[in-house]
Symmetry: C2
Subunit: 343 residues, 2 copies
């Protein structure tokens, strides 16, 4: 059994990104996107978008189930107002729900939240989160630690007033959150090359230095892309925690934080498996995602992370079974109800 | 022979940081720090600050020579105006020069530049750079890719109008630059835990995606802290470069960019040595720097990076000799004139 905890609907038909363009054009011209009507997407279009891409690739690679969410770089929180972002999140989450309904054996949903710059996650965010979990049966949410798109201008994750109500809601609904930034409007940061990785590292340090997990002991976060820079600098973070008088990272962060395996070469996966406890690693590939090509050195896709995990000498077979599937059932409690997981 | 390419004067006597505090207080109260007089620092104070710390540690670890620059987190570009930053840079660079003069066998200088938010590196920056290289015999400069202190609000490194005049000056003087951010005024980013590492990753991607090295084929940069997240995500960056239609990283970036070994655990150094060509790695420890404690797992300092390099099975003895010293003589041409290097 292999569960990929990190897939996005990146192959949706063209009217999907077109809808966002129309929203932004309306916002720019009239200050409101309220009149912009979402496009029709047929079941046939969804089937084609999945069968020919995500599901084909999952079958080729022996991935049984993917936790699937809207395209991350297209969440685009920084460009909309709250009303537009609510409509955009609802639209994308519904598409993911339809994917899950059309291919119930292969997908479980995770939602995009209608976060908005300058707006603390509140009623509209909770409403959409609750809708996705209760009506659609989604098992997780993506939380953008920087809805200002590379300006990092809203409060950090440890800000009680800003973020704690969202954490309460996540705990109440018993869903974990994947930390995932979206696009970048800061020319310093390429979205997938820079902003994603920096966002992961930034979130980890905020978790390390804060009391979030003292205040929410059952809250769980997945940091994608192998945890950004963190495993490579594990000694730095262990040493900094010690210098700061904090408890060891295992105690301070790793009871609540998990890294995925979206690291696209053998040496990177080996390091991840060597330094991070196997119980804190979740299999993922983010296909079709940031890197789509074939590595000329291996003749396999860069993002075919199953090969790296299987080839690694830095974890036992039992640990690999945890990474491929067992850990996910602990991190995503609602996944246990999925037909593929004995539910 | 062991050359450490990354040391900062972090143990200067208390009147040094006090001077900056007085500058900032004057700026806040009167809008100018012009009347703030730099403090006296005696040779005795400098000797004590070095003998009891940096030099003692170098001797303990068998490091022969350190490329030494002012304390990075205290460069503090984001808090001053240009005149204050010029006075602050001159003051710190002179201290480093005096360290090099008092301990000529053990130190070579690298300068802090008086960069200032909103001001393109121009006459004042070039003047200080030229003074340090020509009068003091410094061999390198630290370039802050984000003098706005975590706001990332000035132009990226590929901006021709903003940065190219500085690159011309670096090439003309035949000195490489170490990419090194300073403090952070953005609450999202802990300076040494987050901003340093993100800054390294950010600079690498800017190099990868730009034409800087086509335009300046002899310009050389050192990215510290092992290159930020880059070696851990080497497959991601190779794959992204390929997807973007760029030449391989070896050709696009590694003719001009070097990573140091400030990675504070064995697994991280092993990864670095495994994926980055030995010719692109420079020994460094950044002592006394971000992490000062002893690793309870090894009973050695986290930042005692010589041990990791020596213990690694991922580089040959010949490669390690290049990493420990030979590469530095190629990257820092002016180092060849140093008495310790046969000059």
């Amino acid at each position: 059994m292999i569960i990929d905890c990190h897939g996005h609907f990146t192959t949706a038909p063209p009217q999907v990104p077109e809808f966002r363009k129309r929203q932004l054009a309306a916002l720019a011209s009239s200050g409101s996107a309220a009149g912009v009507v979402p496009p029709v997407v047929t079941d046939e279009e969804i089937r084609a978008a999945i069968s020919g891409h995500q599901l084909r690739r999952m079958r080729e690679r022996g991935v049984d189930l993917t936790i699937f969410s809207p395209k991350a770089v297209a969440m685009d929180h920084h460009q909309g107002d709250e009303a537009a972002n609510v409509a955009w999140a609802r639209f994308n989450n519904e598409l993911v729900h339809r994917v899950c309904r059309l291919f119930p054996e292969h997908f479980a949903g995770a939602c995009q939240l209608p976060q908005t710059p300058g707006v603390a996650p509140g009623a509209r965010v909770f409403e959409e989160l609750e809708r996705c979990v209760k009506e659609y049966g989604f098992v997780a949410a993506n939380v953008n630690p920087d809805p200002t798109g590379g300006r990092w201008a809203d409060p950090p994750l440890w800000d009680r007033k800003w973020w704690y109500p969202l954490y309460e809601k996540l705990v109440e609904l018993d869903v974990p959150a994947m930390i995932h930034v979206s696009g970048s409007c800061n020319p310093h940061f390429d979205a997938v090359a820079t902003h994603y990785i920096n966002g992961d590292t930034t979130a980890f340090v905020q978790f390390m230095k804060s009391d979030i997990f003292r205040d929410f002991p059952t809250l769980k976060f997945i940091i994608p892309h192998g945890g950004g820079a963190v495993p490579f600098h594990w000694g730095r973070y262990r040493g900094l925690a010690q210098d700061m008088g904090l408890p060891p990272l295992e105690e301070k962060v790793l009871r609540n934080v998990y890294f995925d395996t979206c690291v696209y070469h053998q040496a990177g996966i080996d390091l991840l498996l060597r330094v991070v406890p196997a119980g804190n690693i979740l299999f993922a590939s983010e296909t079709f995602g940031a890197v789509q090509g074939i590595d000329p050195r291996t003749q396999h896709h860069f993002d075919d992370t199953r090969r790296y995990v299987e080839a690694s000498a830095d974890a036992s077979a039992a640990d690999k079974a945890r990474i491929f599937a067992e850990n996910a059932l602990g991190v995503y409690p609602r996944l246990r109800a999925h037909p593929r997981c004995g539910g």
